[in-house]
Symmetry: C2
Subunit: 347 residues, 2 copies
DNA sequence: CTGAAAGCGCTTACAG
DNA sequence: CTGAAAGCGCTTACAG
């Protein structure tokens, strides 16, 4: 009997047909309760587990979702964006909760996608996270669309198909940052982070930010914007460049927390005090944000909710049900770096 | 032809048998090159992908590994230990590199394990990460052993089966911390972190630490040890307790970086300066370590190497090959919190 | 080098 | 409520 029991082994021991075993194991109402009990007992004793390959093959679906993580190739490969890591955690949890398995894999945008996860029946659908340059990415999305792959993605809007994207209201997030800094009496602003169609999420944060400022008569042209991908180093470099230009900001909004931390390092290295000389606000609320010095004020994206929504919506897509909510409202988390909290407050 | 092409569709179009298609697709040398070329062309055109469920069922293996992450149930569920997150990244990469898929799932130690990943043929083997209380965990490991499941785990030694565990040389790590602090002239030490058979890794770090101190005549009894699980809060609480006892340490070795960060917060809140009053050394070198204030001196565990070794050794186990190296040498990363670096040094 | 055939372990109409 | 049978899409001896 070694070498994995099958449903035939159980059938033999229970004195019923294999069909009945199969039904009982899936708790079909069409099976006598006593028969079921007997079958379950034997299954347990034999340490029987349904062979997923066989049952998937027969059922033509896998009960598995695939998560493809795209990394910015410009970033050191050992460094995964902490925001995506948090998402990964919540996605995994959301899958487990719904009885699905999660297959995960890192991808380079440049490579041929292993989007054959669905074609090869390994997964019923795909979740995409991260995308590097959005212009290149969009093309790939259209391929998936053409192949009728079931997928959802984070952040990047799919033209004409809003249902495929779960995203933060980034504009609103940018607005919150702008309004908060204005309320603290700041007046010389800067934005650090890429802001073009290549990075739509950052771009929207930028737009919300300058929009908030414009309500106080501050024109976008008066707000320097420096390019930076989402790394500490990029934030650091961009800030040095900003300071070298001679502009003296008293408030910097960074497109991500990683950038913000680099911004603070650069400011401090150049002798500026955060927040008394320059207030800094980030975006994401990654774990590091609360441990930086000073602790970072930031726009939080609720990753637990985001992970849930990605999984739920993908499952609805697979089952051809209508899509639920797809946008998440950001929230400002006030800590020390913006100057709103008294220096004497604990931590 | 919609609804996924099969090898029969290709066979029909190529004018050969389905067997030949199957062979050609796996690049069997027993197939004429011209035939192969023809078959590949048709496969590509039909966007054909081998059905993994069918091929796995037939081959009786899955090309997939499962990663089970055990979380400490005492910790807030949204907070995953950053060290494990880093491991997760490197394990994923190591799998991808070897053409394997990775299934991931969170587990509670208390639950019935879904260790049926292998039994249900979803995975060829299992990687275990994290374990909460080791005494409870060990029992589960023995179950896996009894079921002849292919598995490897991180950190926890499996009695009589060293080949199943990949681990840091924790004693050596503790020794490095002790020696370094001694070399800086510190003399009143403390250790924060659980140190019993329930947390074998922390315990070994503790042992290495006191062993190093003993070379200078400092007895273990002179080194207070306070219990703390691996969270910032636990480190904070334990430190307050230590200080309340009246002991005035000038050097604290924390069993993990998360603990160390809590230790520093408590010290600073109580008016102690780090490192001039108290030097602090952590363990892990998680990303946060370099962003804390002051930046944390710590014992680094090479997660890239660790992930590689877990995957490689599991694969060897599956293929019944001998096991390779299973221990990783830790390395001290000197930053500001220990006082070895001049305050004027950048970041 | 190629084909006919068996079979991996299930699920699910179909029939009773 | 139960059973006999077909079939999901492959891989791999076996035979030629």
């Amino acid at each position: 009997m070694k070498g994995k029991a099958t449903s035939f082994d159980i059938a033999y021991q229970a004195g019923v047909s294999q069909s009945t075993v199969s039904r009982a194991l899936r708790d079909s109402p069409a099976v006598n309760q006593e028969t079921k009990d007997r079958i379950f007992a034997i299954a347990k004793q034999l340490n029987y587990k349904v062979d997923k390959n066989a049952s998937n093959l027969r059922k033509q679906r896998s009960g598995t979702l695939a998560l493809l993580l795209f990394e910015d190739p410009t970033v050191d490969e050992s460094q995964i964006n902490p925001f995506f890591l948090a998402m990964l955690g919540s996605i995994t949890r959301a899958c487990t909760k719904r009885g699905h398995d999660l297959l995960i894999s890192f991808q380079q945008l440049s490579n041929d996608w292993h989007a054959d996860y669905e074609d090869s029946k390994k997964a019923d659908g795909i979740i995409l996270l991260g995308y590097g340059d959005y212009v290149d990415y969009e093309e790939k999305l259209n391929q998936l669309l053409a192949q009728e792959t079931h997928f959802v993605c984070w952040g990047a809007r799919v033209e004409g198909h809003p249902e495929f994207t779960i995203r933060s209201n980034n504009q609103q997030g940018g607005r919150l940052a702008g309004e908060h800094l204005l309320s603290l009496g700041r007046s010389r602003f800067a934005f650090i982070g890429n802001a073009s169609e290549h990075s739509p999420e950052f771009f929207e944060r930028y737009q919300g930010f300058v929009q908030a400022l414009s309500t106080q008569g501050i024109k976008p042209a008066q707000v320097p914007q420096l390019e930076a991908i989402s790394t500490e180093q990029a934030g650091f470099d961009a800030t040095l460049q900003l300071l070298a230009s001679g502009y003296k900001p008293d408030a910097i909004f960074a497109a991500s927390d990683l950038i913000a931390i680099g911004v603070m390092r650069a400011l401090q290295q150049q002798g500026f005090h955060v927040p008394s000389d320059v207030a800094v606000v980030g975006f994401d609320d990654i774990p590091v944000a609360s441990f930086s010095s000073p602790a970072l004020t930031t726009i939080q994206q609720n990753t637990t909710l985001a992970g849930e929504m990605l999984v739920v919506n993908l499952l609805r897509l697979i089952h051809r049900e209508g899509i639920a909510q797809t946008e998440i409202e950001p929230k400002i988390i006030v800590r020390r770096s913006c100057g709103a909290v008294l220096p004497t407050a604990s931590f």
